[in-house]
Symmetry: C2
Subunit: 106 residues, 2 copies
């Protein structure tokens, strides 16, 4: 595999890594409804603000969300809508697995 190809796979992997955490998936779900400030998300998630802020920065640097400062607050919103489509594909993977599990039991 040449360097360029390798770099492409690394870049793709970075995006998947950004989504590969339950808290970050929750954030994406919430932001798909409407923008939220860090404080609102922190409240919902129930972790330290610094932790939530770090999750957001990972999503941002992957290009999945964007932020906008208004007064003292920073609002985050979903930047790439198609992320939602692939969440629904993931659901289908989950359903397929669950069905299989079930068939093993029956």
């Amino acid at each position: 595999m040449d360097n360029k190809t390798k770099a492409r796979y690394d870049a793709k992997a970075k995006i998947f890594k950004a989504l590969a955490h339950p808290t970050r998936l929750f954030i994406v779900d919430e932001l798909s409804r409407e923008e939220k400030c860090v404080c609102e998300l922190t409240e919902m998630i129930g972790a330290d603000v610094s932790t939530v802020s770090k999750h957001l920065s990972i999503l941002k640097s992957a290009g999945i969300v964007m932020d906008e400062k208004r007064g003292t607050q920073v609002y985050y919103s979903l930047k790439i809508q198609c992320v939602l489509n692939f969440l629904s594909c993931v659901e289908s993977v989950m359903k397929a697995s669950a069905k299989e599990q079930l068939e093993l039991v029956i």
Copy 2:
């Protein structure tokens, strides 16, 4: 967040984790063309067989690929085609980021 909801996010995250590695993305790409045995993939990837085998088992336990033993070889193939759609969404995330980078420079 109740336990059930949390479990759902964990399960989704598991699927993203499975895809969050350059080698595993490469494997998915290859398998989207046609099934391959572990030895063929190992040859292409150039890592230890045990490493490749482990990557495959991660993809399998996430429900993304399936395997079939034929003689001494094990053939892996893509189980969930929609994974490919979301790879194309990821590409669009990458393009958007690249475009932005470019605009910063111009």
